[in-house]
């Protein structure tokens, strides 16, 4: 990061603190790229690097009021990214230790697979019962991994309408899945 870019990011954050959405979006886009590069430099290519980037963005969002324009932007941002990376590394380590436990691996894996299959079955059943528009929106968003914008373009809806429809669908899904779970 050059001195000029760091100063520009600092200015964008100051604008974001006052509610400038455009500046904030540009800032977060750049922060995401910097965070990804940081993670790759530290731990190489890992499947969860995008998770760390997203956690970092959420942390930047949550802590944006703590940025002091009198201080450089980079130490503030990298402190957050580093913190989220350490957190992710700890979580990975815990997961690995659990998975490597020879006494519990076969039983736990079988049990987890059963639970996962049952859960997906419930989700599929619940999605099938949704009204047509909610079902289409959720299938495109979650099964085909399209963005809100892409779904809106594909279905000829506004982005707000897609979000509202998805929200209603999620709520209905939650109720359905709870009922399935209780019934099981």
């Amino acid at each position: 990061m050059t001195v000029e870019e760091e100063a520009a990011l600092g200015r964008m954050m100051v604008a974001a603190q006052t509610g400038d959405r455009h500046a904030y979006e540009s800032l977060l886009t750049r922060v995401a790229a910097l965070a990804l590069a940081f993670v790759r430099r530290r731990v190489g290519e890992v499947p969860w690097s995008e998770d760390v980037v997203q956690e970092s963005l959420l942390a930047v969002h949550r802590a944006r009021h703590t940025y002091d324009p009198a201080r450089p932007f980079a130490p503030w941002m990298y402190a957050i990214v580093k913190n989220r990376l350490i957190d992710a590394l700890r979580a990975q380590r815990r997961r690995m230790l659990r998975e490597l436990d020879p006494d519990v691996v076969p039983e736990r894996a079988a049990h987890a697979a059963q639970e996962r299959d049952a859960f997906f079955r419930d989700v599929r059943k619940a999605v099938a019962t949704l009204p047509e528009n909610q079902r289409r929106v959720i299938e495109l968003l979650k099964f085909e991994d399209l963005s809100v914008r892409e779904v809106a373009a594909r279905l000829g809806m506004t982005e707000t309408n897609v979000k509202v429809t998805a929200h209603r669908g999620y709520r209905a899904l939650r109720q359905q899945i709870e009922e399935f779970t209780r019934a099981d």
Binding site: T18, D20, Y24, E50, L58, T66, D68
Partner: protein
Amino acid sequence: MRTDDLIQQLASDAAPVRPLRPLALRVAAWAVVAVTSLIAVMLLMGLRRELGDGIDQADFALQALLLIVTAISAATGALVISVPGAARSPLVRWLPVVVGAVCVGWAVGGVVYATATGAPVGRLTFAWHCVYKTTSVAAVPGALLFVMLRRAAPMQPLWAGLLALLGTAAVGVLGANIICPNDRPLHLLLWHMAPLIAFAAGGAALGAWLLRWPRDLRSRR
């Protein structure tokens, strides 16, 4: 969720925020509350009668000075490490711990010196009322400091909590020293200074619990 979608979602949530006030101002605000709490509890519980002449003034003053340095450096340290990237040196964390340890070490030295010279050490009694005095003074500034820390973004919640309660307990111990008439070395060690360690340990546990950053991503998926 894809990163681009998350960025759009966060940008659309970007309501104006009030930046944190300068560090000096926040430390000063906390110090005012701490001193007010100290004075209020002293007025409620009364000062020790021989405060003016009956005690070893140099010893008392030095202990008071150490406790004040512990309190200010710990509160400052807690607030500094709650801003990402603001702590440029580990000294911010370790200075209050070292000064706090000197406070406890001073009290240990008092017991050792009294034992060696045959001076009265004091009896091993329960004096929970002194811990109560410390807690009474520390409660409000402690709660305030935790609120201030939660309003910031503590990257090291355990350390932030430890320093917060170490600082407020130091003010509490100063209050207990001023209120309690028992200045036997063993009593000072066990019921005035040792609680500093307990408060700091409790602060670390509370910090890990109350100041921890949630993993938002899971809840957003």
